[in-house]
């Protein structure tokens, strides 16, 4: 029997272009990703989320962060949840929301990258049709959009932005990112 080894979406792709003084990319390890669809009883769903995660999910493209999970509003009554736990993350989440919402494991569907540094916003401005200035993109904002025809979900982290992009397009996305960030001495952490 063949043993399959888990590989991250950007495994073998992230090679530094420069010193990292302008922008640094990092692929966080061990994250689980899942989509949550609220059930028809919205009040019961909201109450369960409040009880289990001490979070109040509002309807909108907003990022609600708890110590364990980030909830990203991606559509009407739909959230992307990101948190530690790797392969058991979605199953644990599904148990927590059993009966009030549907959970689908997306851990193998998305690659996650953290882009930090003083030029992180300038790099994203080359491909993302979203104004990421704090006057337009609030601290708790989420953007579901695209870069070079590749879907991307963007939200803030300390010192920069976290990006979720389809794993199947990881190589193409890295091509864009490495070319766009080269002038800012892209480093890999």
């Amino acid at each position: 029997m063949v043993d399959l080894a888990a590989r991250s979406a950007f495994d073998g792709l992230l090679l530094p272009i420069g010193t990292g003084q302008g922008v640094t990319v990092h692929e966080p390890a061990g994250l689980g990703v899942a989509t949550i669809l609220a059930g028809p009883d919205r009040a019961a769903f909201a109450a369960r989320v409040r009880d289990m995660f001490a979070a109040t999910l509002s309807s909108g493209s907003m990022h609600i962060a708890t110590p364990a999970i980030s909830f990203l509003g991606t559509s009407r009554n739909v959230w992307l949840a990101v948190g530690a736990g790797g392969s058991t993350f979605a199953a644990d989440l599904a148990r927590s929301l059993a009966g009030v919402g549907e959970v689908a494991d997306q851990s193998g569907a998305y690659g996650i990258l953290d882009l930090t540094g003083p030029n992180a916003m300038a790099v994203l401005a080359k491909g993302l049709p979203i104004d990421l200035d704090s006057s337009a993109f609030a601290e708790d904002a989420v953007a579901v959009s695209h870069i070079e025809h590749i879907g991307v979900i963007v939200w803030r982290i300390p010192g920069g932005f976290r990006l979720a992009t389809p794993r199947s397009s990881a190589a193409s996305f890295w091509h864009w990112l490495s070319a766009s960030a080269a002038e800012y001495e892209l480093g890999v952490a």
């Binding site: 309807s59 909108g60 991606t74 559509s75 009407r76 049709p129 979203i130 959009s145």
Partner: protein
């Protein structure tokens, strides 16, 4: 052109796909061929405000009804399309 998505906020045109006129209503199955012909082929071409369907394909994936001035491309209003 930017479209004010009711869920995501103002977004670039590149995130959306255009369906067309929001006015045509599918005729009943008992309708005659003329009504079906009108539904499939006939479209108004107004110079001014026009209600049309857009799909936020790269965003929240909601269908929207957008009121757009065809002379200026000014988007006057956008709302979630009724199911």
């Amino acid at each position: 052109m930017r479209i004010p998505c009711p869920f995501c906020g103002p977004r670039d045109l590149s995130e959306f796909a255009y369906l067309g006129d929001a006015a045509p209503v599918r005729p009943a199955e008992t309708s005659d061929a003329t009504a079906v012909f009108d539904y499939v082929y006939l479209r108004a071409n107004p110079a001014g405000p026009h209600r049309e369907r857009w799909y936020h394909a790269s965003g929240c994936r909601l269908w929207l009804t957008v009121t757009r001035d065809t002379r200026t491309h000014e988007v006057l209003f956008a709302e979630e399309a009724a199911p």
